[in-house]
């Protein structure tokens, strides 16, 4: 059991950039290009880590602390997650609230660091980011409530634990709706198309990328690694809900889990290739739609 937890921690730390690589390769496939190698995100991170950082004289310690606290809180959110059906590293009743707010803390310090630069442009990006985050948060909590209700447990370890198989037998439609809603939220939270485009640097429409424009070198590496980690967390939850509710046996669970996370990355890539970005005024509609879907799922469970 301990070995398995250690393996999960290693997967949590090592795999996330690979997901970005898979997303990029999927997009390249749809565009008819060969695309960058799968390990390109690792090489990018390595390149950034060897660089020096330049700090503006108007920034304070907040700016330097932002990336570090951001990465730390996302990584500790990862500790609460039960991956592949094994129990989570840390688990207690109500830890899903901590999970949601650790992700919130990461966003908060990133926005704070952006405001600390004193640039009006970064302030605008921070404002956009938190506006859309405030719409995504209800959806996240509604999805977690669906899971809590379906598995009758209050910790993430239990929600994504062995009870999930029984929950699928009884409440399949609700869980399916919650999974769809969570996928939409994952796209929004990770700044992917149709909400935000991680590759664009067009100042009219960028959201998340605005906030990290002034970070360079190791700081940027931390931020990009944190973003990959967050994508991995959402992929892990979705993979656990959708791919292996009824599977038992450690080896099969692990294999299916990895497959599910990779399938999530491919799904994100397909959405990015097949969909255009939404106009910014339409994004609230998408996120409210996700909330309404998961609220419907709860109604189905409560009746």
């Amino acid at each position: 059991m301990l070995l398995r937890t250690a393996y999960h921690l290693a997967a949590l730390l090592v795999l996330p950039p690979l997901l970005l690589g898979v997303v990029n390769r999927t997009k390249a496939f749809f565009a008819g290009r060969a695309g960058p190698p799968l390990v390109q995100p690792y090489l990018d991170l390595w390149k950034l880590l060897r660089k020096g950082a330049v700090y503006s004289r108007t920034t304070s310690w907040v700016f330097r602390a932002g990336p570090v606290i951001g990465l730390a809180s996302i990584a500790s959110a990862g500790l609460l997650l039960a991956m592949g059906g094994a129990p989570a590293a840390i688990s207690f009743a109500g830890d899903f609230v901590l999970f949601a707010y650790l992700l919130g803390l990461a966003r908060f310090v990133t926005a704070l660091a952006a405001l600390d630069t004193g640039s009006a442009f970064e302030g605008m990006g921070a404002a956009r980011e938190v506006t859309f985050a405030s719409l995504a948060e209800p959806a996240v909590f509604l999805v977690l409530l669906v899971l809590a209700r379906a598995t009758a447990s209050l910790s993430l370890g239990g929600m994504l634990g062995p009870q999930l198989g029984a929950a699928w037998a009884g409440a399949a439609p609700a869980l399916l709706l919650a999974a769809i809603s969570l996928f939409v939220v994952a796209l929004a939270e990770n700044a992917r198309i149709p909400v935000d485009d991680p590759n664009t640097h067009l100042e009219l429409t960028m959201i998340h990328e605005v906030m990290v424009l002034d970070h360079g070198g190791p700081d940027l590496a931390l931020i990009q690694y944190g973003a990959a980690l967050k994508l991995f967390l959402f992929g892990a939850i979705l993979s656990r809900i959708v791919f292996l509710p009824g599977v038992t046996g450690a080896l099969a669970q692990e294999a299916l889990f990895l497959l599910g996370v990779l399938a999530f990355a491919v799904g994100v890539g397909v959405v990015e290739s097949a969909m255009a970005r939404l106009r910014m005024v339409r994004i609230p509609q998408l996120l409210v739609g996700a909330s309404v879907l998961s609220a419907f799922a709860i109604v189905l469970l409560l009746r």
Partner: protein
């Protein structure tokens, strides 16, 4: 079978919410057509085993042909002729109407059990009917473009159709055939009305009907 039925009902409700949220008429017409197809499948899924299937097959076929094929085709023709693609600014915005739709769905699922109705064949039947009718009514009153109002009427009628399934054991087939024919005639008449509005104002905005003109 039971889970398939459950999935069909949920799909109908999700389509209601989608239509409330969508501003593109093409997409809205397409999903309403899909709702028609799902509704066509419902009588077959609900048919009690051991019962002669003929009645249910005819009902399903009629619903499929009229709701799933014929009316969507007419609607597509209408938006092509009038060359409109999307609803610009509805009376009630898209986000509020979606939230209202969600509230209606929640209330329907919470309270439909208390209604004095004959025992439904499936617990989701009555709430699905009520929330579909609610979504249709919302669409009719909250959209400005005539095409979307007709679409709202269709969704409302779909709700009534689901409600009618509650009684399909007792209803003679002629009545159901008559209802489907009525629906078709209504959409046909609305198509003519739309054509006239479009020719008069060169737009399908029904607000213009209430403006005075010398």
């Amino acid at each position: 079978m039971a889970s398939l039925l459950e999935l069909a009902f949920i799909l109908v409700v999700v389509i209601d919410l989608f239509v409330l949220a969508s501003s593109r008429m093409g997409a809205a017409i397409r999903v309403v057509a899909m709702q028609g197809v799902v509704l066509g499948a419902l009588p077959l899924l609900l048919a009690p085993p051991g019962h002669p299937l003929g009645h249910y097959v005819l009902l399903a076929g009629g619903a499929l042909a009229i709701k799933g094929v014929l009316i969507p085709w007419l609607m597509f023709r209408a938006i092509r002729e009038a060359s409109i693609r999307r609803e610009m600014d509805p009376v009630v915005g898209f986000v509020p109407s979606m939230v209202l739709g969600g509230i209606g769905v929640a209330l329907a699922f919470a309270f439909s059990g208390r209604l004095p109705l004959p025992e439904p064949a499936h617990p989701f039947l009555v709430p699905t009917a009520l929330s579909t009718a609610w979504a249709g009514m919302l669409l009719v009153v909250s959209r400005r473009k005539a095409v979307n109002q007709v679409l709202g009427f269709l969704v409302l009628e779909n709700g009534v159709f689901v409600f009618g399934l509650l009684l399909s054991g007792f209803m003679p087939m002629m009545v159901e055939a008559g209802v489907l024919l009525d629906l078709f005639a209504a959409v046909f008449v609305m198509g003519i009305v739309m054509f006239h509005i479009n020719r008069e104002f060169s737009s399908l905005d029904t607000e213009k009907l209430s403006a005075l003109k010398d």
